[in-house]
């Protein structure tokens, strides 16, 4: 695999307070810090992982959610391989805002084909008992928007966090494979397999 394609950029989007930074930290450092500051500006962390026998470096970008800072976060959307749309199951508004986040992402990331772009939806804080968003509602939304993978996570107790990020990687790799098969020079290989030859730019 080429060094280029082994670095995958994913971006966490969602309302402030849904737990984006906590999810990133849980995944990368396996810690939950209840004293975490709210995010100002843009941050990212790298993590190496192996999915289906392929080693990739995941670069996870985390931004501040307030409307005011939109112009300072949107430039970072470009080049994302996957977008993790995040809401909190105890906050109905954050769920209803997913559509806006998706729209903003598609617009600023300049996604060529929004229908095939890999989105993964995360319903965070499942450890909280007072839910405002049911699993069914969330799944319905994912179906309506294009069969997005849906994970109910908890950054606090680590539920499904790795699974969600790994799914993101799988989705990206799957899209890339599809794209590769469109290159005429590529020999017909309809089965998804770990790539060996570096796809030339």
């Amino acid at each position: 695999m080429s060094s280029k394609s082994s670095l995958l950029k994913v971006i966490l989007l969602g309302d402030g307070g849904v737990g984006k930074s906590s999810l990133m930290n849980r995944y990368v450092t396996n810690k939950f810090d209840s004293h975490l500051f709210h995010t100002i500006g843009v941050e990212f962390l790298n993590k190496d992982l192996e999915v289906d026998g392929r080693t990739v470096t995941l670069q996870i970008w985390d931004t501040a959610g307030q409307e005011r800072f939109r112009s300072l976060r949107t430039p970072f959307y470009r080049g994302s391989d996957c977008c993790l749309l995040t809401f909190s199951v105890d906050d109905g508004q954050s769920f209803r805002n997913l559509a806006n986040w998706k729209k903003e992402f598609v617009y600023y990331a300049d996604v060529k084909d929004p229908d095939t772009f890999p989105f993964v939806v995360l319903g965070n804080k499942v450890d909280v008992s007072e839910r405002q968003v049911s699993r069914e509602e969330a799944l319905q939304w994912c179906r309506d928007n294009g069969d997005y993978a849906y994970y109910e996570t908890s950054a606090k107790d680590a539920t499904n966090v790795s699974a969600a990020f790994e799914e993101a990687v799988r989705r990206v790799l799957a899209t890339e494979d599809r794209a590769e098969h469109l290159i005429p020079t590529d020999t017909v290989n309809l089965h998804r397999k770990p790539r060996t030859g570096a796809p030339c730019c």
Binding site: H35, F37, I40, G41, R68, F69, S71, Y77, R78, C201
Partner: protein
């Protein structure tokens, strides 16, 4: 065409050359020696190249040439479109009429009218028509201009140096951005003024349309048009090479450069064209900091009725050493202009009474909003929900705000809510809780903290406004300072698409609140609030931190992402005293510099000749002179302070909070 105002020569360099037949016959390379100028003509900026009248002196050249009269004509690339545009001709005549004495020549079929028909090899163009500049180096530098109509002008070779100065001159009028596809190509944006406009539009992104205009238009079109240019260059010069067109992984860097272009260059706020070339800054002087101002020092500066005397001197002491914690609660109220320095105890008591009433009147306003009302007030609801979320994520490791239902948290919340009533247009913006937290911690009193916060917000307001004008201005100013202080580093950042200094965003938005340990934030802020030694001292603080990091950044060849990460991760690793020493030293270095560019002295307010600043400067000088040793009383102060040190510790941990509600 008669000129209405004489053209102003912004840049002039003699000793540039056009080569002919570069690729075919290297040994028969011919050179035309000439001038390159940037001329401001009635607000239009024109670049012109004029050959010296057939006076190529081969002895000046670094490469072989034959008789200049034989092969001086620039031959056109066969596939270039010949797109006659009269405006250029007019442009040329206009400039020509007033600037150069030159014999008329007749040149055969020029093809492009950017080339002067009457003078071999001469050309001129309006910078507004420039699309890109290719910068190449072959022992010397040469530049190739490509215009928006796809005309590529002959390469201008700087055999006698000066290409950087020329580009600097060009940057006064246009935006030059390194191409995402080829580091040798500088893409030209609009006039900086127009760009600055675009940046504002960008920030006002409630309007997608404007963003779209900016984002789609220049980027896509530039890139589209640009690929034509690249192809052309490759055809012409490097036919064997083909360029990898895949966008780099770190492409957001390029995009950012495109999106925040106003920040990318050393923009001049003033209309003049000032070329900042290398200014000799001299050596950085040694700076010593002092001990913090103790209770006794503070008390000594008040007369019997409570008026603070010799304020400039006191401010200098605070600037040089900060305040001992016990003094802060009182002194910050003056530093933040809540209390006038010349007020008496009595007056301050009355002021506080009035301000207390005023505060609670505003607090009552949001406190008395019923649930029903709140349902119909989405803005208040949004502010409230943001504040609730952020208060829970502000300085939670600090004793004052630790744990559940800590009174500190409630006060933080209430003051921010009341501030929304005080300034409903601004309301609450993320970052404001960070600015309030240290103030509340020091004041331990809701009303005093509120009014001190109001004062601090007066200074910081622009950072949080819809347009974020304050952020934009500061990033541009910082870029200007950095460029003066360290051109090499500045160039490095530019080359990494980080020239707009995005990575300093958090530093500037909340004045290093997240970068330093809590106690060090208190120190830095009180030093800054003295207003000494110059305007925008916090920008020199940025420069000082960057100065300490630049070697690492350059040695490790950090790119856009790594720079951002590196700077983010400096948080809580910085030494405040070291930074303050360096910042002050940089200030002295700049102040002592003789030919300081105006843009820099404006930023730092070094031109201001008010009585106040004269006094401050002179006194500052006295304090700074190496001979001046700490005053004899100083040691005593320290002894005195130790007692207070304990008190200070105690008050830190006790969460003593004045509840007035």
């Amino acid at each position: 065409m008669a000129a209405t105002t004489p053209p102003k020569v912004i840049f002039e360099h003699e000793g540039v050359f056009i080569h002919s037949n570069t690729e075919e016959l290297e040994d028969q390379d011919s050179l035309i020696s000439g001038y390159l100028r940037i001329v401001d003509k009635d607000g239009e900026t024109v670049v012109e190249y004029k050959p010296l009248e057939d006076t190529v002196d081969p002895s000046n050249m670094l490469c072989a040439c034959k008789d200049s009269s034989s092969v001086v004509e620039w031959t056109q690339r066969p596939h270039r479109t010949v797109d006659q545009q009269l405006s250029y001709e007019t442009e040329w005549d206009m400039v020509n009429a007033v600037s150069f004495k030159r014999k008329a020549h007749t040149n055969g079929e020029g093809g492009s009218n950017h080339l002067n028909e009457r003078n071999k090899g001469a050309f001129s163009f309006n910078v507004a028509d420039l699309r890109s500049v290719t910068v190449k180096c072959e022992g010397w530098s040469y530049l190739i201009f490509c215009l928006k109509d796809d005309t590529t002008l002959p390469a201008i070779h700087f055999h006698q140096g000066g290409s950087q100065a020329f580009l600097d001159g060009l940057r006064k009028s246009v935006q030059l951005t390194e191409s995402p596809d080829d580091e040798n190509i500088l893409l030209v944006g609009a006039y900086s003024k127009a760009f600055s406009q675009s940046f504002e539009n960008l920030l006002d992104d409630t309007n997608y349309g404007l963003v779209q205009k900016f984002k789609k238009d220049p980027y896509t079109t530039t890139l589209g048009g640009f690929s034509k240019v690249t192809n052309y260059f490759f055809d012409a010069f490097r036919p064997s090479e083909s360029e990898c067109q895949q966008r780099p992984v770190e492409e957001m860097a390029d995009i950012l450069g495109e999106l925040i272009p106003g920040l990318e260059i050393n923009q001049q706020e003033e209309p003049g064209f000032e070329v900042i070339t290398r200014v000799d800054l001299g050596t950085r002087p040694e700076v010593q900091r002092r001990e913090p101002v103790m209770m006794e020092d503070w008390a000594k500066h008040q007369d019997s009725e409570g008026r603070v005397s010799n304020v400039p001197h006191l401010k200098h002491l605070i600037f040089k050493g900060g305040l001992c914690h016990a003094v802060r609660k009182d002194a910050w109220k003056f530093l933040l202009d809540y209390y006038p320095w010349d007020s008496t105890h009595e007056e301050r008591k009355n002021l506080q009474k009035r301000k207390t009433d005023e505060y609670f009147r505003m607090k009552l306003q949001w406190k008395s909003v019923s649930e029903e009302q709140e349902k119909r007030n989405s803005r208040l609801r949004d502010y409230k929900s943001l504040i609730e979320k952020d208060v829970n994520r502000t300085d939670r490791t600090n004793k004052f705000y630790e744990g559940l239902d800590n009174p500190g948290l409630i006060l933080l919340h209430d003051i921010l809510m009341t501030y929304c009533m005080y300034d409903f247009d601004l309301g609450y913006v993320q970052g404001m809780s960070d600015l309030l937290s240290p103030i509340l911690y020091v004041m331990e009193n809701e009303v005093d903290a509120f009014w001190c916060f109001v004062s601090f917000m007066d200074q910081m307001h622009e950072n949080f406004e819809e347009q974020m004008q304050g952020m934009k201005t500061q990033l541009i100013q910082l870029s200007t300072l950095l460029r003066l202080l360290d051109l090499a580093f500045w160039n490095y950042l530019e080359a990494q698409d980080s020239g707009y200094l995005y990575f300093c965003f958090r530093w500037l938005l909340i004045r290093f609140k997240r970068e330093l340990h809590f106690q060090d934030v208190l120190r830095l802020w009180e030093v800054m609030w003295t207003g000494l030694p110059c305007h925008n001292f916090h920008l020199l603080v940025c420069c000082a931190i960057l100065d300490s990091e630049k070697q690492k950044i350059m040695d490790r060849h950090y790119g856009f992402n790594e720079i951002l990460k590196h700077i983010n991760e400096l948080s809580m690793k910085l030494d405040i005293e070291e930074i303050l020493i360096k910042s002050e030293a940089i200030y002295m270095q700049i102040k002592n510099c003789k030919d300081l560019p105006n843009s820099v002295s404006d930023i730092l307010g070094l031109n201001a000749v008010t009585n106040d600043s004269t006094l401050e400067t002179s006194e500052y000088g006295v304090l700074e002179s190496p001979q001046s040793s700490p005053r004899p009383a100083h040691r005593q102060d320290q002894a005195y302070s130790n007692g207070h040190g304990l008190l200070q510790e105690a008050s830190h941990n006790r969460c003593k909070v004045a509840f007035i509600s």
